[in-house]
Amino acid sequence: MKKLISVLFLLALVAGLTACNAALNGQAKQIVTPPQAVLADHPTLTEQEKLLPCFECHKDVTPEIYSDWYNSAHGIANVKCYQCHGTFEELTKVPAVDSCSFCHAAEMEHADTTPCWACHLTHKFTGHQK
């Protein structure tokens, strides 16, 4: 029972914190809750489309990013989009760095204060950005 209460409490807290803003300013409906923030920018996908790998479309809509990735070590080694950016429901534009440390725990030792892509070219991760 106590567990249930605490779960309810957490839910209510989140609901409360987001619900208050909805009321604010009447017309400002763009509530920034977790997944919707990025999804709001992403075209809606059908259930069937969600079963396609990201790059099927991104080859065409973001060809530069696709080709940076495809020709990178990540691309060659089949480290796919969702491994860093999450699947559709939990899509993030900028991944949490902890998704890097699955594999790059050792490499992360030299970067105390900056995320990998602050120095290494985004999506290519070769060499350093100017």
Partner: protein
């Protein structure tokens, strides 16, 4: 750089918020996964392929919450693929089997029973079968995913207790031809070297392996080697299909399926013609042999046997995408590099000529002396985490006892009987049914009780339909031990829920002879129990049912042991200390204590603890690296090929002619069909299909069709097509892609949907030596049935 917990949480809060709006925050995000809120990190091995990647599981409040690579491990150096990153998510999956389930007849629903009842039922089922139909009416079918302790104790009870050698496992479907190849060419099973050679190699010959998807973390090492040394290192990829592995290749040799024997004989022809062989190595260590009676011949006879395989002729045989000059170039790269490493997998092994294909790869290495030196090795990649280990070395196949001992040799049987303290003559001299014969025997009602552990033959056998019918019959009593419902639990009378990886303790041996321990980190859900406990309790009941004290004797050393840690350790100790002693896989130094202290594990042979603590034998047969090369030395040469299968202690170069596939295309079935894996899924998807991210990434099977064939058949991308062979038909969407060679289609085999299960179409012909089936080649026809159709991923549930 110490961060308090609150700071850490605040930082996570900020980073999460920032990630939703695509903002880069200039704050330290260092080691976030490391800092993930775990109570403890437990070091073990990934179980989703044979690479042997080491990882740590984060546990919080007794639940798995995260995984991370172990940077110091000599297998993966910290890297993981997405299967490895995500597999902890299935441990708490709602589909987990948590109670023993039973039904008398296979058309009834399952009902829950207690463990005591379940083990009684299992014991009675097997005992009845023995009483009515004899010992050989019972069988065990295990898996390369079982821990060594599990395979060992199961086969001990079957052979020593029930007195049958009907002990098999799914490695027969993937590794048997490699075993045959190593034994006949080198005199000893398992590779001479290991991954360590990747970074020292100058030519890497990949054949019949899409390692970019099947072994992504090992592929990363190959890729790094190439990308870091683009001019010095040559990569040859030989495969009928252009795959993601081809992307790092200097040369892709695309041959017609089944013609690889001609291709490799032609490379040998060039090596002889251009005198690229290593005469000293041949003089010191090799002989040439031919035929069933292993007749020794000289090099001239070998050369003569290759006359049919001039590069020009072979190029024609191989189907036109390869030129004679390609073959010459490949042979030169192979022979002349400072260290050449071959790597292969199912494309070579799952063949009617699988052993011969293995032999021909080894031939190239023996001829050129590309063995036993840095960067040189003939390395068969393993598909499962403990095929190379537990099953091959632990006695998991019908013809071999633990410690690489042949069943048919009385002396070796007696060694095992003595070690177990059971009467001599207890282990029958006749090898049991190999896998395909075993399921044939189920069909023919010769086997009346079968225990299927941790694998799903009802989906994974080739030409699966008739074998499924056999398993579904009420004439055979089927016990399944597993963690999830599968196509095979659908055929079971009794389902026993088992503890998963990290829910019990045990050892896996990966591709490179490396034994690595995974200790228990979390409790298994519900009433799931470790297999070693299940076998022990079952054997005790079996002894009573059959009134046979020797069955109880088989588990006597393990009585009273706590099942999660003590019991497997006692089994491991018996196996390593008593049974591997003095054998070529001597593991006496690799105790639990030693294994637990290692970031990775121990490569056998490792006869002493001191040696095991160094990591063991990096290069077998080489003095200074392999301690047994000293103790078993027969002369003062630097390499000692002491393997048990070659009395002359030599490497054998084999004269093997080119023979094609069992079923070649014809007018009726004009295309080759081959099958394979994709990176996101493993085997039958009973595990990876239950990780939403992985299922989403490849929700169902596709068939890849060459654009020229597609144009001819009027097939457009994503059209639904029917693939039909003489055995069965399936329907799946088409991918039109420059992958398979013209005249061949390639289907992914992971899908468990009835309409898309490609193993219904595959052929069950098998290699006469290794008994491994030819999954990789059969003849089929393909027909467009409709435009794109909405498909749903499918994972089986308990009641189908």
């Amino acid at each position: 750089m110490s961060v308090t917990r609150r700071d850490f949480i605040k930082r996570s809060a900020a980073l999460t918020a920032a990630s939703y709006v695509g903002m880069n925050l200039p704050i330290g995000q260092h080691n976030v996964a490391q800092a993930v809120d775990a109570d403890k990190w437990v070091r073990g091995t990934c179980r989703l392929c044979g690479a042997g990647c080491r990882l740590e599981m984060g546990v919080k409040n007794g639940r798995p919450v995260a995984l991370r690579g172990v940077p110091k491990a000599r297998t993966n150096y910290g890297y993981l693929c997405m299967k490895g990153m995500l597999f902890y998510k299935i441990m708490q999956h709602p589909d987990r089997l948590v109670k023993p389930l039973y039904r008398e007849k296979k058309n009834q629903p399952f009902r829950e029973v207690s463990w005591d009842q379940a083990l009684d039922i299992a014991a009675k089922g097997f005992a009845d079968s023995v009483k009515k139909f004899g010992s050989d009416s019972t069988a065990y079918y295990g898996s390369g995913q079982c821990q060594t302790e599990e395979t060992y104790i199961f086969q001990k009870v079957m052979r020593g207790g029930l007195q049958t050698n009907n002990v098999e496992g799914n490695p027969r479907l993937c590794m048997a031809s490699a075993v045959g190849g190593y034994l006949t060419s080198f005199g000893a099973d398992e590779p001479i070297g290991g991954y360590d050679n990747i970074e020292r190699s100058y030519c890497i010959f990949i054949i019949g392996s899409n390692m970019a998807e099947a072994h992504p973390v090992i592929f990363r090492r190959v890729m790094r080697r190439k990308l870091d040394n683009p001019d010095k290192v040559k990569i040859i990829n030989a495969d009928p299909r252009i795959s993601p592995t081809s992307r790092i290749a200097d040369m892709h040799m695309q041959f017609r399926p089944g013609t690889d024997l001609a291709l490799m004989n032609a490379m040998a022809y060039v090596i002889l013609e251009e005198k690229l062989y290593n005469q000293k190595f041949l003089d010191d260590y090799c002989v040439f042999r031919v035929g069933k009676d292993k007749k020794q011949v000289n090099m001239a006879a070998f050369k003569e046997s290759l006359e049919k395989y001039t590069p020009e002729k072979a190029a024609r045989t191989c189907g036109g995408n390869i030129t004679a000059e390609d073959i010459r170039t490949a042979a030169r790269w192979f022979a002349k590099s400072q260290g050449t490493l071959s790597m292969w997998c199912m494309g070579i092994n799952q063949r009617k000529q699988g052993v011969w294909a293995n032999n021909l790869i080894h031939n190239l290495h023996i001829l050129t002396g590309q063995l036993c030196k840095p960067g040189a090795d003939s390395l068969s990649m393993t598909g499962q985490p403990n095929a190379c280990g537990g099953v091959r070395e632990g006695g998991g196949l019908c013809h071999i006892l633990p410690g690489h001992r042949l069943v048919k040799k009385e002396k070796l049987r007696n060694q095992v009987e003595d070690a177990w303290g059971i009467p001599r003559g207890r282990i029958p001299p006749k090898p049991g049914y190999h896998t395909m014969a075993m399921f044939q025997a189920v069909n023919e009602k010769k086997i009346r009780a079968i225990w299927i552990n941790c694998t799903s033959p009802a989906q994974s056998l080739p030409n699966v339909t008739p074998y499924r019918k056999g398993l579904q019959s009420d004439d055979v009593f089927v016990v399944c031990t597993d963690i999830f419902p599968t196509k095979t639990t659908e055929c079971a009378n009794l389902i026993l829920p088992t503890a998963f990886h990290f829910e019990k303790t045990g050892v896996y041996g990966c591709t490179e002879r490396r034994s690595q321990i995974t200790p228990k980190a979390v409790d298994a859900p519900g009433e799931a129990m470790p297999e070693v406990w299940i076998v022990r309790e079952w054997a005790l009941k079996l002894a009573k049912e059959l009134n046979d004290p020797v069955i109880a004797k088989c588990v006597e050393p393990f009585l009273g042991k706590e099942p999660d840690c003590e019991l497997p350790e006692a089994v491991w100790d018996e196996y390593t200390q008593k049974v591997t002693k003095g054998r070529d896989n001597d593991l006496r130094g690799a105790t639990y204590e030693v294994l637990k202290s290692m970031d990775d594990g121990v490569q056998w042979p490792a006869p002493t603890k001191e040696f095991a603590l160094t990591g063991g034998t990096v290069m077998k047969f080489v003095r200074g690296s392999d301690p047994m090369a000293e103790t078993l030395a027969k002369d003062d040469k630097p390499y000692q090929f002491y393997g048990p299968a070659h009395a002359d202690k030599k490497l054998w170069v084999w004269l093997r002619p080119y023979v094609g596939a069992d079923e070649e295309p014809d007018a009726e079935y004009p295309l080759y069909l081959s099958t394979g894996r994709i990176i996101d899924h493993w085997h039958t998807t009973s595990m990876t299909g239950r990780v939403p991210e992985l299922l989403r990434a490849n929700p169902y099977s596709y068939v890849e069709i060459n654009p020229k064939d597609a144009a001819r058949m009027g097939v457009k991308p994503n059209d639904m097509v029917e693939i039909e062979s003489r055995r069965g038909r399936v329907e799946m969407p088409a991918k039109v892609v420059e992958g398979p060679i013209e005249g061949m289609v390639f289907a992914y085999w992971h899908d468990m949907h009835e309409d898309r299960m490609i193993n219904k179409v595959c052929k069950d012909a098998y290699d006469p030596g290794s008994k491994e089936p030819e999954f990789k080649i059969c003849a089929c026809r393909v027909r467009r049935i409709s435009g794109p159709r909405a498909l749903k991923p499918y994972i089986t549930t308990l009641n189908g």
